[in-house]
Symmetry: D2
Subunit: 388 residues, 4 copies
């Protein structure tokens, strides 16, 4: 087991002990994030030369799975940070050369990653109301100033809003709306306001609030150093985010089994045949989903963005989402009414688990893309809706 994984595993009981409270209050898991900072896990994806742990995606998926056994919401916010740092760290050198990315970007990138190794963490501000995460339809715009960029707009579902040290913000050029760029906006920037809108069924502790921007940022806030390079990161990040959601939801599903086992053993009900059958089938389903997530993660490391990798990512997302929801519902039924009281872990896990299929790409969308691919088509061109 890697150091990072071991560190994550040690945090599980601490996260689990606090999960009910953060969920009840819909409060950001401040203490969990202090723990993550303390253990150096913000540097998980940062190359060792910049002071980080130099993990690959597979190792990350294992860490995310473990954290989610403690608290799914904490794992989900951490996932966003890991996606940003992982995508930044993972840009291939050849691509940088080929695109003519300026040296200055490399410096900026390294500063961002070094800061993460030092304990900073980043949130993602991509989705907009009514637009979802489709970059092509977003209304947040930027204008080029004198060595600065001026960004105006509003984002939603910004997990960790109000707590992150910086935000990865996607915006379109006012001058040429076909150009989509991404900026790293520091938390302290004037004109950055958080509107508390997150009050949801599950994953309540993610503080996925709205973020309003009317900010001026320095030139080196532009990711890639060249406008229009949003795709540089954005094409890497989807695999990241989709596949890493998956790891989180498998962890949530496993936590639901663990909670049902504890509940049934506590009550001396372990010999109920129907409960045993439910747990047995859940055990197999979660084991399978976990292997698919691991396989997807391995492939994201080995061949990011390739069609076969994408298929594994969609499989992981689909199975993690559906398995988590089905397993949590069945475990609640195995445990009985007592487990539906607030404060019982299964009550929370049942709500958290339902969210996986709803996060983009939704289960229905993943099923469609996988079907198109199996039939020899091109999910980008033939799938339902445009992809992002």
């Amino acid at each position: 087991m890697s150091d990072a994984l071991e560190a994550a595993r040690r945090l599980v009981p601490r996260l689990a002990a606090r999960a009910a409270g953060y969920d009840r209050d819909g409060a950001f898991p401040v203490d969990d994030f202090a723990d993550l900072r303390r253990t150096g896990l913000f540097g998980l994806m940062v190359p060792e030369r910049l002071g980080g742990m130099g993990a690959g995606f597979a190792e990350y998926a294992a860490v995310a799975h473990e954290l989610a056994r403690g608290d799914g919401a904490t794992a989900l916010v951490f996932n966003m940070h890991a996606s940003v740092t992982g995508a930044l760290a993972g840009i291939p050198d050849q691509l940088i050369e080929a695109l003519g990315v300026p040296e200055s970007f490399l410096d900026a990138r390294d500063r961002v990653l070094s800061a993460a190794a030092g304990g900073a963490w980043y949130a993602v501000a991509m989705s907009e109301r009514g637009v979802g995460s489709r970059l092509s339809r977003m209304s947040t715009m930027y204008e080029v100033g004198d060595g600065t960029f001026r960004i105006k707009g509003s984002k939603t579902f910004v997990s960790g809003a109000g707590h992150a040290d910086g935000y990865l913000v996607a915006a379109r050029s006012a001058a040429d709306p076909s150009l989509v760029s991404q900026f790293l906006v520091s938390a302290g920037t004037e004109g950055l306001t958080v509107e508390s809108t997150w009050d949801a069924l599950g994953m309540r502790a993610t503080s996925s609030h709205d973020l309003h921007l009317d900010v001026t940022v320095p030139a080196d806030a532009l990711l890639g150093g060249v406008e229009g390079l949003a795709l540089l990161v954005a094409q890497l990040m989807p695999h990241w985010m989709v596949a890493s959601y998956a790891a989180v939801y498998v962890g949530v599903a496993q936590a639901a089994i663990d909670a049902a086992v504890a509940h049934l053993n506590d009550r001396g009900l372990a010999d109920l045949p129907a409960a045993r059958a439910r747990i047995g089938r859940a055990d197999a389903a979660v084991a399978a989903a976990r292997l698919v997530v691991d396989e997807a993660a391995r492939r994201v490391d080995a061949a990011p963005g390739e069609p076969e990798t994408n298929r594994w990512v969609w499989r992981a997302k689909l199975l993690a989402g559906t398995t988590a929801a089905d397993v949590a519902a069945s475990m609640l039924e195995a445990a009985g009414t007592g487990a539906s009281r607030r404060g019982h872990p299964l009550e929370r896990l049942y709500r958290d688990a339902r969210c996986g299929s709803l996060q983009p790409a939704t289960s229905d969308v993943c099923a469609d893309w996988l079907g198109v691919a199996a039939l020899g088509g091109d999910p980008d061109a033939d799938g339902v809706g445009s992809r992002w």
Copy 2:
């Protein structure tokens, strides 16, 4: 359509408009119950000669289904009152004669029913912690005093606790613990205290708190007028409660479809094939569950307690519970992330809908009993666990 059903239908929008608030606060639906009193629905099951509406079970099931489309929690509390009054009103005269039930009971019963017609309503205090609803293991005991009974013990899952006008309390005789009797204890009785323990995943507005009793009640509080007649009502009530839960959960499932349809039409997403397919399958499943509930209700009216009636009751309970949970989960997936925000009806309905399978008899228990019966066995003797 009967007057009662029409009255219920008119209440639906009022109940629906308040449902989010009561759910959020876990507060008793005081205004819904004022509406129910105003429309005379507390007298639904009371014979016309006593000023009631004289409804049968089938009509009740239709009313419960309708109320549940507005607010499942309100319908569930109302269900308890309807079960008490319906079971009392439904005791066959021959049975009363055969058992030698004293005249005084008939007077007491009529007083209870008249009060209901006049606007009083009753809650059920049967379950105990760690015992469930199995009468044979309950620890609430009573002693016979001088023209009184002294009852001591604690009940849980008392829907409507703190708001009902009276409680149907089951207790065992201290002198002969094999005797189980039921008492109607007025809300104002000294020594009756409500402990606020109800804070649950779903059906949050039922105020299903704990009730502690250390009370002295007059002789005519004893249901049936003779000790040990708990079964008189208790053997009628199960069908009542089980089958009427069922009507409520089918109503909740229908409400989930309605909410998803409204959501998709509002967002212009009605042409998504995956969403359409989800709604189509949900529509068929709910229509089927409703017919089974209606059939069970008809049979409870026609042949209460007969083996074939019981099978229909179990089918109704099983299908209502599983259908509600499956449908609400699928509707949430059809509608997407937006519907998982608190305050959105689907967010609440998803939680409410999960509770049906957990209420006794649970889905797994119903499946077992139905299997035993189909195989020619006797569910009472061969089924899992004792029944109540």
Copy 3:
């Protein structure tokens, strides 16, 4: 119970005893049809004034369900005959007047129905290879001759081909291909040949072979007496066929439960919890599907062709198809390997049961239509594909 239903019930053990043999050989159930003729059931839908039993659709559905408990394939062929005679008998008088249907048609219709009451039965020749049952794309054409029609083309899935006394054949006018007419072609007509193509997974005894036509028929073979009136019958028949398929598949599902119960009791395995749970859930599902079929049937009698009736028909078709397949698969699993030997009723029922969802309208199509309707759309206009 009606006479017809009683007659059907008496046939069940006879049909069941022969089912394995006909299935094995893929042979037409000649003896079953002799039984049906003997009991007068070919006249089930024929008005009493013409010597028939004058049944409505609801009664028919009950008969079909019963026959299917004996042999699903026999019930399915019988269903085609009942659809033809039922649709003919059910044409409303006002419609006939409104359309100016000539008197001669009424005579022809009555002759057809009288013959059925006397022991003749009819098959349906509608589907074509690669076209399915969409009338608008069929390639069978007719030309008007001198007091005759000349019909040329090929049909597929003609259940009962080679054994029926007559075939209801749909064809398009060579002169005006937008006109679709239906003809009743006698079995003895020269130029009518059956090609034995039916050799399928399930419902093997239906002899649903191909029918090649190069025939000349008299003027009164034209249904309705006026060209282009195919829709007269065709718009009634879909409800007929779709809903009556449904009754058959619910019967098949019930037969699967019965077979599993007998198998488990024979082997002394009735106390296996997993088997009991499977049977209990199957029992509830089949009971529900049956009620939906009955409801659809009642509505086809009361308000044929109305939108709400159609929704019930689709619900019936969807639930019957999916329930039969799911239940038969689960019953085979409850019974174990022994039940997968050829000759065991469950082996056949498992194959028969799978066919329900595949017959038009398929389960996926029904789900889509139901979804469109629930969303307030028009399934005819907005549903997948054209309807027939």
Copy 4:
């Protein structure tokens, strides 16, 4: 890719081309087995020092999966041979020493394995009617003669009966019925008769007939060289057989997807949303089941018989069986009625796929064992029924 896997892959189209015929006739796949002999695959599990390919279980699972994509029945018979040779080859040297297994056994074992490398193959004769595969209740007995054993009894489900070169026969000692031994009985032995009883729903080409024994075999036919050592092999073989069934059924499930994809593309129906969704979900499910089988296989190689290995074997068996049945049923529904004609691969695959859950350990039993294990119990002691 290993040589063996490549060889298997080359055989797939040959096996697939013959599958319909063998299935139709319920005939043993003679030509497939000639191909297997020719390619040396009978020596797959035989150590290289004895002329074999020296494969481990993981490699075997990959080969079995591949063969099953061609013909599930062929793969299933091959699986029995691989189980025998694999279990023999896999007996740890320490165990042999610890048990005091005589040198003569090692010679006998090596002769058996060498023969396999040379083109011989073995079937397994373990199950008995009414007893299943529980060794403790079998009625086949043996008596010790003068340098010989006399074996009498009857076996069922002997895949490959009448075609194998030898049979692994389990029997109990007449002198001490607690001793269960296994013998390798040559096909030519006098008193060995095959009764053609295999005529089943699926996997029809396995020739899993009954075998009657009234034979005398030489001393070195006793596996292990010492009586009562049946467990030596029998405790290894279950993992073998159970897990390798699993590989076969995942291959069958994949073949069903492939057939549906081909069918839909042939008909120009690849853009039906419902069909795409079915294929997408099937793709994910099969990919997951495959990973679980691979993981189980790796663990059988690394730590055979350990509790955690057994859990993976049960997961593999459970998921392979349920996935194959569900996927084949869904693919048939995606493809439509045309695919239910005999001769269409999906018609056969639908029947073959159903058999996986029924083969011991059944899906319900695996679920129970997994549940017991997850709850901290001992499946051997607490699970349903005795294990084998």
